[in-house]
Symmetry: D2
Subunit: 351 residues, 4 copies
């Protein structure tokens, strides 16, 4: 990375974000003398209570090191080894977790569904289930549906969509998992309650993302279906996903939701993305690939312009021959977005 690159805005991923100051502060405050390990400390004990209030129902929260762990272990709690899990063909669990779900389930199958804007469409799921050979011993038996909210394309399921997908799943005794790596971004966009977007719409288990939105090193699994809690707790331990010094993960998660911090951070990222999307869409030769509903902006751009843009030192992610992605974070600014717009404009016009 040359010097110029350092000073240009970084819109490559929300993974490049720092820790939000409130969360770092909470870690420091948790650091007072010895405390019980493996979740018996005061911070961790508070966690279930605080999240149960937040979600307006009794939940169990398991901090984990990564979103991959959250997803794969959640699904391992839902699916039998000879089971199957429906997901979108572009779902992170299928394309970008190195087979973690296959590994932790003991070889369950991911059955992928097409769908506009990286969202499962209820009709397509219904049809897939109708074609299923239930009870046939040489066919993997569907056990769960996994949806990503916000999706990998930055799009959002409406509450009605989630409820419909859940109802279809429930009708066939399938569990519903939500990959909420960008849960806060979706929630901030929809303006509904955490309960509305999850268990009230039929979700059984949630990968609750925090790392991309200001936490340091902890995501979490939030379990609504209490039958999943015990098996999951063993699976987490043997997966090496149960921190002995749990208080530091718990402190992060508590601070993350305290006074709605997570929503404020996400709203900021969403706003910058919206600003960026609008500015880019107004440029000639630029086309938005998907509506900007969370903190991701996908655009189509001539390949030559992409090359030129990359050469400028701007940090973004390439997603195809003529497709690039920008990701806004809680610490991104409108000025940075404007800078990106200017750079893209220059890359196009110079071409």
């Amino acid at each position: 990375m040359n010097e110029a690159a350092r000073t240009l805005p970084n819109f490559r991923s929300d993974n490049v974000a720092p820790i939000s100051p409130e969360i770092l502060q909470a870690i420091a405050e948790a650091n007072r003398g010895p405390a019980a390990s493996y979740g018996d400390d005061d911070c961790s004990k508070l966690l279930n209570r605080r999240f149960s209030t937040l979600f307006e129902t009794e939940v169990t929260v398991f901090p984990v090191a990564t979103g991959t762990a959250a997803n794969a272990l959640s699904l391992a709690a839902c699916a039998r080894p000879y089971g199957a899990i429906y997901c979108h063909e572009e779902a992170h669990i299928h394309t970008a977790e190195g087979g973690a779900t296959e590994a932790f389930t003991g070889g369950a199958k991911l059955l992928t569904l097409p769908g506009r804007h990286f969202r499962i469409e209820p009709a397509i799921l219904r049809e897939a289930l109708a074609r299923t050979a239930w009870g046939v011993r040489n066919r993997s038996q569907p056990d769960a549906v996994s949806i990503t909210q916000a999706s990998e394309f930055g799009t959002i399921y409406s509450l009605a969509d989630i409820a419909e997908i859940s109802a279809i799943a429930r009708d066939k005794n399938l569990s519903v998992h939500m990959d909420g790596a960008r849960f806060a971004n979706a929630l901030a966009r929809l303006g509904c309650s955490p309960a509305d977007m999850t268990w009230r719409a039929g979700v059984d288990i949630l990968s609750f993302g925090a790392t991309k939105n200001g936490a340091m090193s902890s995501d979490a699994i939030v379990v609504f279906d209490q039958d999943l809690v015990e098996p999951l707790s063993y699976r987490l331990r043997r997966a090496g996903q149960t921190w002995s010094k749990m208080r530091y993960a718990s402190a992060q998660l508590l601070a993350y939701v305290e006074d709605g911090l997570y929503l404020r951070l996400a709203a900021k990222a969403n706003a910058v993305a919206a600003h960026l999307g609008a500015g880019l869409a107004a440029l000639p030769d630029v086309r938005l690939d998907a509506p900007v509903e969370a903190n991701l902006v996908f655009i189509n751009l001539p390949a030559l312009a992409i090359t030129r843009l990359a050469a400028s030192g701007l940090q973004f992610a390439r997603r195809g021959q003529e497709v690039i992605r920008f990701v806004a974070r809680f610490d991104s600014t409108e000025q940075e977005a404007d800078e990106v717009i200017a750079l893209v404009e220059r890359a196009i016009t110079t071409t």
Copy 2:
């Protein structure tokens, strides 16, 4: 926990330790704006270099969330699914990791060996290997030996022991894994170099513990045998053990070894344990179960005295009918040790 308990010393485990101030400071310093994810940041890039210097050979370092992950994934890199791993019958990987090694290896077998003071004895390993049915298809084939330094009993392998065990293993093409959950405590005791206690003595892969000795949330795998690096890197990712915001784990590990911090912290814990052990051994009706060579003190005590001691609010771990364990930490003090000695004395004499 009642109020009294809060103020009494806590010698239950080194897992109850806080973060050492230097490491917390390093996390805060790493928190400057955006940085590349998944190990491409400056901190993480430095990690391999810094540890290679420390170990006086080229090593690859993988930060992981827990010691269980470090052990099980290290062994998964060494053992085939139809393989087997020798370990002491009291090894943590066998007794206290919920079958993590069996899970991550795809079902390899742990073959347990007896041995004094929780240490594998070279002669016993040699004999076990001599009895092995090599190449016989219905027998799990030995692939690795795992030793724990310091052991779960607070005892230490001498360099000669490690070298002898490694030589026996090497002779049969077995990999040598060291569970170094208390690596620093052992190293501080032996006063040798990290290189001497590992690869120079034949160790191929090391679970490098940091959490028990002052880190917040990161242990590491240190790989000496470079053939293990690539497969391990994939296994870690699909295990959900690769942090996106890797810089915070790397910063912890860098600070941990900076200017020998890890040794100073461990030496402190060892010294308090030695003081405690000596004081307890001098009491009537108390017997040390094992020599105090690291930061663990195991004593035999009448059951009634144990009950009385627990009632006092003192935090320790019960390890049998008449056996209890005290663990000293970097933040433990001699005064606390003296307090424990006094409490034990009272528990005995009142009995």
Copy 3:
């Protein structure tokens, strides 16, 4: 099943076939007093030699109980747990083996490819490999390609196709597996040598089907790539796929290939299928779904005619709303085929 059904021809599957008399005879002949177990008997020792002659190269043969075992264990020998296997989206390993490949590989991923007539098309494979993120840790890494010869649709890969697919695979260090559940049917059709259709065209490991074509209870894995032999032999044993009384499986396989029996049996099945296909194609309202190249006949038929046909008691397999499958066997006859044609004609015209 009513009485009428018993006397009507059975074209449901080649799995309904009896044992061919020659093979039953061979079992009886192998039944002379005690014999060494686990492959050390004379019959089994002959097996590798006989198949090496047949395939004109050194091969290792492992008898297994089922085609599912042959496929999944062959692929487990080729693919790492974090690996991936390309196959056609309608491949038996993906649609009809209950996740066996995912189970035995430890969670490798099946990456499905579209392709006309259930065959992988070289261009599509090439493009998929070109899009692959090699070395990227969160992507399952391609390790193998699996092709089915004859395909589940009764179609055949030409030698040129196999060679081209193998070359594409080899170029990326992928292994090539052939699911030869109907190996003999394909070979009889192509009229080439076993060597030509396998290793000379780049195949590394073969599921050699025998059960559908006259054996009693044994398929086999034929290994061309000798590096796969040792790991596979352990995997088979722990999968419970290594018979102690191996001689009876070996005797079946020896008889199966003796004097070209397998080809005569397959040629018979192919001929009946060809006759049936031609007769059905000549009917109004009937359309062949795929060219009849082996022993399978897929036709399109109005749904009402299918219902009527099923009511007649004729045994066939339904494969869609308006699609049915007939399978001819070594013991099927042209008269039976004529009977089927007449029944289909009646089902259509009565409609």
Copy 4:
């Protein structure tokens, strides 16, 4: 093997046995034209009914290719991946199945118990369970006990022993598995009913051995606990243990139990073993290692005599420096036993 060896008696294993004529005949009789596959044929449908009569309760029978498959898949139906299974330290599932149980359970742990004559002793099991850390997340949780009847040492559990072990297990919600590789030999010895030796004594699932005692290629799982049936049926299919041409396995099993054939065959083997054991015990320098209760005879013999005996061409199995094993089969004869006794006598006296 030289010519002399061929003509000397073979007491190496019961795996060297041929097919009993009645069973071979049954295979031939099942070979009449096409028949439904995967257990829908008339023979297979009869199997559950016939075995339910035999066991005097409703059972489900699954034919499998090997005893290893029977054991490992039975246990996979009983144990969670994070579970544990108690077995004797010399149990076949631990020492001689290549880790099959670890593989099929997804990494459950075998917890081995000592015990005289290769039998689990109720008191030892009770104590092990009393020491268990129930509900502790880093400890593998006991799910099953597996006993071997007859044991690998040729000894027999009394009905009272089985009932006591089962009661201890049941009290902790553990399933009880019986490895009945030599089920018939034990049953013939005890002279009780199959029901008495299994479910009436608390057994939930049984590996029903047939191959060692006259079948060609089929053992079976007999399930008493009907909750295990559905999950097991899927696991078997994806393990490649469900034959398409199931009728031939079913026919073997039906013939095996028809008119008590299995008991007659086993009684014959037991009688020859008893004769052999008595004859050998009467020799100087020979000591029986275990009471001869089934068809196995273990003796202690000077190492030099063993070497000499092996040189004679006699087929037996070496089990230690000074221990050898003889196995009698349904087709063994008293004359052969006498021949063995003479050869052993000569080997000793010449020494």
